[in-house]
């Protein structure tokens, strides 16, 4: 198969995928999106003839646009632009999770610091404010006091890009020092890990310790429903434990899995490539 990989930076995750794809004899085309031009109807030469294109763009903005263009060229793309659009924006992500009846942290959005302060005061302290676009735990704030809230809101309103004036405020979930990342393909778990830290942020990118964890029945059900709610695909579903239940706080669409692969009992890139091959075959059959 001819498999295209959209990228602007090759991380360990992309190297794992590239290695697995090449070992299986696929014709892999690395497509640096920084060097491409995307017209309205005709695909760039690197994309033309691909049986499947994998979006591994590091920049969310590029991911959202380029997947739309690839779909326009009738080339199957993972993940598809609808999924990318939902997952790229935390507000959108929260809306579809809630609409699907999936437990998710209580969240409200406001557009002025006065309205945002009303939300914060009603949630009580601590609560959390997050950028609607962003990753790796960056620019997230746990707000412990009113004076901290006032400072954060003023800074965001004064210094921020317009997206920082979309105030996304969430209840603080008292998790047991860890959260859970499940990598899934169309809702089927590939592997899961717990990410633990003394810090309230437990992102692997923030240095959290990771360990393999089993996927129980409730987790499996939530992952399947969360995946469906965002349109399916290759996803990272993040959950927090709330006593004897779970809450899903977000779904990631250009999911990193190098940390997971180090602790998982399954061969993560091999399982992902199995699924990519099946997706490409399905696309090829659909066009015959």
């Amino acid at each position: 198969m001819r498999i295209g990989m959209l990228y602007s930076r090759i991380r360990r995750d992309e190297k794992l995928l590239l290695s697995e794809l090449r070992e299986r004899g696929h014709d892999v085309v690395k497509i640096d999106v920084r060097k491409q031009r995307f017209g309205l109807t005709e695909p760039p030469a690197d994309i033309e003839g691909c049986d499947l294109v994998i979006d591994r763009c590091l920049a969310t903005s590029r991911s959202r646009y380029v997947t739309r263009f690839v779909e326009q060229y009738d080339v199957p793309v993972v993940n598809d632009p609808e999924t990318a659009a939902v997952c790229a924006d935390k507000a959108h992500n929260s809306l579809v999770l809630a609409d699907a009846g999936i437990p998710t942290p209580n969240t409200e959005v406001a557009f002025t610091k006065e309205a945002a302060m009303e939300i914060i005061e009603s949630f009580g302290y601590p609560c959390v404010i997050k950028p609607v676009v962003g990753s790796w735990g960056r620019l997230m704030a746990k707000i412990d006091t009113r004076s901290a809230a006032e400072a954060i809101l003023e800074h965001k309103e004064t210094l921020g890009h317009y997206e920082h004036k979309v105030f996304y405020i969430q209840e603080f979930v008292e998790k047991p020092g860890r959260d859970i990342r499940v990598l899934a393909t169309d809702g089927e778990p590939v592997a899961a890990m717990a990410r633990s830290s003394d810090h309230w942020l437990t992102n692997a990118a923030k240095g959290a310790e990771t360990e393999h964890t089993e996927v129980d029945d409730e987790m499996r059900d939530l992952v399947a429903r969360a995946s469906e709610s965002v349109g399916g695909g290759l996803l990272g579903v993040d959950l927090m434990e709330t006593g004897d239940a779970y809450t899903v706080h977000e779904v990631n669409h250009t999911v990193e899995f190098k940390a997971l692969n180090e602790v998982a009992e399954t061969d993560v890139p091999a399982t992902v490539v199995d699924w990519l091959e099946a997706r490409a075959e399905a696309g090829m059959e659909a066009t015959v």
């Binding site: 992309e14 920049a59 903005s61």
Partner: protein, 54 residues
């Protein structure tokens, strides 16, 4: 082995180097993007952007 474009020190490279990969200079800490592998060509890596992530 190639030379860091920031500090001139030798940068050790691994065998499975990929275009688009980032390597760190152990001497000055600079992040260097691999522009070519044969011959090896390095440039200063782009700064972190706000919308980068997963």
């Amino acid at each position: 082995m190639t030379e860091c474009i920031e500090c001139g020190a030798d940068v050790t490279l691994h065998d499975d180097l990929e275009v688009g990969e980032i390597v760190d200079c152990a001497t000055c800490g600079a992040e260097l993007e691999v522009l070519g592998t044969d011959p090896v060509e390095l440039d200063t890596a782009p700064e972190l952007e706000e919308d980068w992530g997963e």
